[in-house]
Symmetry: C2
Subunit: 356 residues, 2 copies
DNA sequence: TTGTACGCGTTATCAG
DNA sequence: CTGATAACGCGTACAA
């Protein structure tokens, strides 16, 4: 068994020795937070270079500076909804010298608690909880508990794409979810549709509630009574949507348009419709939500609601960073809550219903 | 200005005091690596519970135990190719008590160097470099440099979806990239296609080279000479593919089938074909590569090559963890290289060419 | 402008 | 089985 070169990271002390200065001086040029003479600075820089020296973040965190770490908690990495938000978070984090620890919970509720512990253990300076969530009392309590727990450790909590508590005590960045649902339903109604199927995500999820509420409100504003038979709530998934659409078709509900809870669901709806030989939009109009890249590749391209996912992620980081600066801007309003706008993207999946 | 409760993480010392034991004992029950009497253990556990105590990972890493951190470096978080690999890495990492630090380089070469520094600074125990890469001498040198640098710090380097160095010194997990390209091209040839356009990723990228090589080999085995006019190499992007396909159509090259370098490119090809009123597969057959979810939502569903992305990610973690165990299995073969198989997924985008 | 020395929270070694 | 105590690498008062 040959002896490999032992793992040997160079330390500040080694750099100091090489540059003929003290460790304190090395620390100072590394952080640039105290004056150091140009000559000394240069020698230290050279020594760092030659040794391939890298500051030890663990030691730094222990010594009291932050960890420059953001913990990002989401359901599912692959889903483009989360993916784009994650990208926004990444970008803004990188722009502020932070690294991102990404946790995918796969929807398990316990996953968030684990993530909180992880954040505490790593001394993260921020936790971002992404995506819709149940909005009952238990949720309120859980979020408050997380909030308090993290605060005890000097860690910020930011909610992204889900509502804050009813007291609004924890920062959150949301989008005009209900308004988007209203817009897209209204769009269908103006085209003359009267029997519009809603088909989407799990009961109790904030995302679902907002979208169904928008749908209902649009109906009411057109003097139509929402018909529960036309609201199918199950999952946000392609397969579930396909099957459910098939069932709905078999039930002969005389539907002329479908509002799919998100673009993935819309893909399932497309599949079901084609399976039954129905044409989009001639026989049935379809709209989606989110405007992920898939929407433009569906045939016909999907009319949907654009959600500013990347900005959502970036804003979440900004919210969390706010106040980190030593000088809290006295003129800064309280921006612990942000809400970004959405807009309708008209493509080719909607037409007026065929005359009966 | 009201005084908030100061950030106060509880430490081992506090737990020790509360349980009436020494910090050493607390450490021992926390880690379970040394014998502790049941009674003591219970008291310590209780104290930890009451204080909401969480081990400090920074201190642990400093004290010499690993950081239980994996640094994952990829081009682009949103791309499903990377997304699924990332998911596999996540899963396997979590299964082994590791957290993942995700870095998206957006293709900037300097990004990898930064990621290496980050890994060193955080004392990560593994770095996974994901995705195709240039394969010239500079690449060899860069990888060797990274490898040596990380090894100096006791950090493993694993390549995922890209070739190792010519000496095979750094662990890598790949897939049968060339073979997949051969299979799918062969599939078209057997259906009678003779003029097949290849359209895909950047020059010099390992992924591109492998796929073009497979394409060429299939042609040769069918006694056809590869025609450079039918090989369009640019980017792995939907828009580039759409534009390029349009140009190709205008050039009237008598193409009856298209091998898109990946499924995203195939989406661009679909768009171009439809834009010109051409039907798939009646007028032109199309195949893709990767088998990401999009493939099944294209119309018609895309025939493509399935790449085991999640397993790729999982295997990468296993490779990196191998040998971490205190007892190196003397019977374990050297598995520092892995290569996973791919298979053809036939859907509805291929038919025989129409008789001329 | 620079150096000295202590503390951050854990782990591991060495006594007991 | 349990308790002191010396590292681990860095930041920062404090002193010079």
């Amino acid at each position: 068994m040959t002896t490999r070169s032992a793992p040997s990271a160079s330390t500040m002390r080694e750099v100091a020795a090489r540059a003929g200065v003290s460790v304190a001086t090395v620390s100072r040029v590394a952080n640039g937070n105290y004056p150091v003479s140009a000559a000394t600075k240069e020698r230290v820089r050279a020594a760092m270079q030659e040794l391939g020296y890298v500051l030890d973040d663990n030691a730094r965190a222990l010594a009291g500076t932050g960890s420059r770490l953001i913990v990002l908690v989401l359901n599912e990495l692959v889903d483009p909804f989360y993916g784009y938000i994650a990208r926004g978070v990444q970008q803004e984090a990188a722009a502020n010298g932070r690294a991102c620890l990404v946790i995918a919970t796969s929807g398990q509720p316990g996953g968030e608690d684990e993530a909180i512990d992880l954040a505490i253990g790593r001394r993260a300076d921020m936790v971002i909880l992404v995506g819709g969530s149940r909005v009952d009392d238990a949720y309120q309590r859980t979020i408050r508990r997380h909030h308090r727990r993290l605060a005890d450790h000097g860690i910020r909590l930011v909610l992204c794409g889900r509502p804050t508590t009813d007291r609004g005590e924890v920062p959150s960045v949301q989008y005009e979810n209900e308004a988007g649902a209203f817009m897209v339903t209204d769009h269908l109604l103006r085209r003359g549709h009267r029997r519009i199927l809603y088909l989407g995500g799990p009961t109790g999820l904030s995302t679902t509630e907002a979208r169904v509420n928008g749908y209902r409100r649009a109906l009411r504003e057109h003097d139509l009574a929402p018909d529960d038979a036309l609201i199918r709530i199950g999952q946000f998934g392609r397969e579930w949507s396909r099957r459910t659409m098939l069932e709905t078709l078999d039930a002969e509900l005389e539907v002329t348009a479908v509002f799919a809870g998100n673009d993935i669901c819309a893909a399932g709806v497309y599949a079901a419709l084609k399976q039954r030989g129905l044409r989009i939009p001639d026989d049935v109009s379809v709209v989606g939500y989110d405007d992920v890249p898939l929407a433009v590749d569906l045939d016909p391209p999907l009319t949907t609601v654009n959600v500013p996912l990347e900005p959502l992620g970036r804003e979440a980081v900004r919210l969390g960073l706010m106040g980190d600066g030593a000088s809290a801007d006295p003129f800064a309003r309280d921006r612990s809550q942000a809400r970004l706008g959405v807009y309708l993207v008209e493509r080719d999946s909607v037409s007026s219903p065929a005359p009966a």
